[in-house]
């Protein structure tokens, strides 16, 4: 009995990762920048393209002589659009690869888990795409920087759209996670602040993996709203739009957001057709200015397609990391964080500077819709309606 117990204890001992005392290389051969993106799972199609944005930045940094006289190496980990997997990736990069700064995580869930860890291990994180507001309210948020804009910014822009179009009965079909619910809250708060006289007639929070949304969507149809706001990711968005089309919800005005922007949503022809017909406006952050034009051309040149959502913020995140290491003069997380707070440069997404919470102080949004385009593989493409500038002072 005692022997057996000892054996079990020994096995448990072997299984406990020896992470806490991992190596922290003092004189690395290359300067490592961690990269945690979700190249598989629900956001996979988006993550693969965002990774291209990161690689482009690294190529350019290295072509310009690297950082601190060394070449930059991108340490890539996949978070599988899952909070726990993403967090594991962060730990692996810090403890096994010894990175001192990470561009990522891509999603809010993985960020929630990673921020306390990052603050404990003194590793700054720079997300290209986690837009949840609660992330700025966490302890240790000073280690968390964003090159994207927060949900409240996007929510306010969407609230403006709803006011402009005069929608008074709003339905919401949002993902049951911090992203979906955060955006929904931001819109409603934004609308209330603008003196909206309408009401939210039905609110659906759906599960990403359920894929059977007929009765959820029927609730929206029965409520007969003026407009439906949908915050989805890519793979589940396809199913939502496909079933909405089958149930005859294409007569209503639909509003989209950054999560359902991109050609990934057109993989199923029915989803593409529905979006072309029903989506009157969606939002996403975009770049503007000379650096953006340069980025767009370089990306198109290298990957044969136009950059999609968050490719530009990832490009900026990697550049911000490189510039901060250079400014710090040493490859050390604490020094890099200090350098990031004082950083100011023109990125692909406009002038980049962080406030005391690590959030961007200004940015630009695009209002988009979906149009037919026979020259593309799917026959559909996102089109720009207008560009809106947003800054924190407003």
């Amino acid at each position: 009995m005692v022997k057996k117990l000892l054996l079990v204890l020994a096995i448990i001992g072997l299984l406990i990762p020896l992470g806490a005392c991992g190596p922290a290389p003092v004189e690395p051969e290359t300067i490592k920048i961690g990269c945690l993106l979700d190249t598989t799972g629900g956001l996979g199609p988006m993550g693969v393209r965002i990774l291209d944005g990161a690689r482009l930045a690294v190529d350019e940094i290295n072509a310009a002589g690297g950082v601190l006289g060394k070449q930059v190496e991108l340490v890539e980990e996949d978070g599988n659009t899952d909070a726990a997997t993403g967090f594991d990736g962060v730990k692996k990069m810090v403890e096994i690869n010894g990175v001192q700064v990470i561009a990522g995580p891509m999603i809010t869930g993985a960020s929630l888990l990673s921020i306390p860890y990052a603050s404990e291990h003194k590793i700054p994180l720079i997300t290209p795409s986690a837009t949840g507001i609660p992330l700025s309210e966490m302890e240790g948020t000073e280690w968390y920087f964003r090159t994207c804009l927060r949900d409240d910014a996007q929510g306010l822009v969407l609230a403006d759209v709803i006011m402009d179009k005069g929608y008074n009965k709003l339905a919401t079909m949002v993902l049951d996670n911090t992203y979906g619910k955060g955006l929904e809250t931001a819109i409603i708060e934004g609308l209330n602040a603008l003196g909206w006289e309408g009401e939210q007639v039905v609110s659906i929070h759906y599960a990403e993996a359920a894929l059977d949304y007929r009765t959820e969507l029927q609730q929206i149809k029965d409520a007969n709203p003026d407009a439906v706001f949908a915050s989805t990711y890519c793979d589940d968005g396809i199913i939502v739009f496909k079933q909405a089309s089958d149930l005859g919800l294409d007569g209503m005005a639909w509003l989209g957001c950054d999560g359902n922007y991109g050609s990934g949503l057109f993989e199923d022809p029915k989803s593409a057709e529905f979006m072309e017909k029903a989506i009157v406006a969606g939002t996403r952050t975009v770049g503007a200015g000379d650096v953006y034009e340069h980025f767009k051309a370089a990306y198109q040149d290298k990957y044969g397609e136009a950059p999609q959502v968050y490719c530009d913020t990832m490009y900026d995140a990697v550049w911000a990391a490189a510039k901060a290491i250079e400014a710090a003069g040493v490859y050390d997380g604490e020094a890099i964080r200090v350098a990031l707070t004082g950083l100011e440069f023109d990125g692909a997404t406009g002038p980049i500077a962080f406030n005391e919470l690590g959030d961007r102080t200004a940015g630009t949004f695009e209002i988009w819709n979906v149009v037919e385009d026979p020259t593309t593989e799917t026959g559909y493409v996102n089109a720009e309606i207008e560009i809106i500038t947003w800054s924190m002072e407003e």
Binding site: G41, D176, L211, D212, E216, Q219, D222, D246
Partner: protein, 301 residues
């Protein structure tokens, strides 16, 4: 807000039909071989991928692709039993060993599928772009698509066919006999081994059909089957393990509970994520109150 109950009931029928086709094989193999086969989820996934591949490669339409998927996955199901579970059972493996082995086999199949076809979702609409499956109609206040009607038709056809097979045919009687008392069946001259093989073949083949329908309704990816395994187990437990008629009733009860549940959850301002919790709840309550499930309703004498 007036709820369109007709549509909710119709949606329940769609959900229930899918669960029925998927769970029949699970309940029959559970009853005959005496362990829950978790790799059943992968038969669903595999069926969807096989149908997709033959449609993409050879331009097969939905009916032929369905037949190929049924046959190929059926053979895989038979091989899984013959190659893994029968060998283990012969060496005296208990239900726990067999269950763990089935979970492991499921992992092997799932990640092999992921390696072979990739993790990016695939869509049947891209291989059958002009199929009439996708067209939609309004019947009264109910919105339907041909695919949904075919799915419900398939479930009804399956129920009727299986009823006649189980009651009228020799193999059906052998399946029932083996399921209720293997020793007696053996003593009566029934080739138990062959009965079990045929059941595994049929069960996996039917799982493949569920996979094709689920894939056509949503998408195909390596987790297609695994995403459905919990409600299917709820169907098996509620219906009574190994009981086909119980499974029919249970599939539609779970389908109804989930969809009516969504209406209730929405009305209460809760997330519809909890619809899966309804399947869980049914499973637990059945296990506590009536572990034999609905089977008692269908037992004669």
């Amino acid at each position: 807000m007036a709820v369109n109950w007709a549509q909710v009931f119709f949606n329940s029928a769609i959900t229930g039909s899918l669960y029925l086709i998927g769970a029949v094989g699970l309940t029959l193999t559970y009853g005959l071989s005496g362990f829950p086969n978790f790799a059943h989820a992968e038969f669903i996934t595999l069926g969807a991928y096989i149908a997709y591949s033959v449609a993409a490669q050879f331009g097969l339409g939905p009916p032929l692709a369905l037949v190929v998927a049924f046959l190929c996955t059926g053979i895989v199901g038979f091989l899984c039993y013959r190659g893994v579970f029968q060998v283990l059972a012969k060496r005296g493996a208990t239900i726990i060993h067999l269950m763990v082995a089935s979970i492991a086999l499921g992992f092997v199949l799932r990640y092999s599928i992921g390696a072979a076809w990739g993790w990016e979702p695939l869509y049947f609409a891209t291989v059958w772009p002009t199929s009439s499956l996708w067209s939609r109609h309004d019947i009264g206040s109910i919105a339907v698509t041909n695919l949904w009607l075919w799915l419900i038709f398939a479930a009804v056809a399956l129920a009727v066919t299986m009823h006649f097979v189980l009651v009228k045919t020799k193999i059906g009687k052998a399946i029932r006999a083996t399921s209720s008392n293997p020793e007696l069946a053996l003593a009566s001259g029934i080739n138990i081994q062959r009965v079990i093989w045929i059941t595994w073949f049929l069960g996996a083949g039917l799982a493949a059909i569920a996979g094709v329908f689920r894939g056509a309704d949503t998408r195909i990816w390596p987790m297609t089957g695994w995403d459905m395994i919990l409600p299917m187990f709820a169907v098996v437990i509620l219906g009574g393990i190994g009981n086909f008629y119980g499974a029919i009733a249970a599939a539609f009860i779970v389908g109804l509970a989930e969809n009516v549940g969504v209406v209730a959850l929405t009305a209460m301002g809760l997330s519809s994520t909890y619809r899966i919790g309804i399947a869980f709840l049914i499973l637990i309550i059945t296990l506590i109150l009536k572990p034999q499930g609905l089977a008692m309703l269908f037992r004669r004498g």
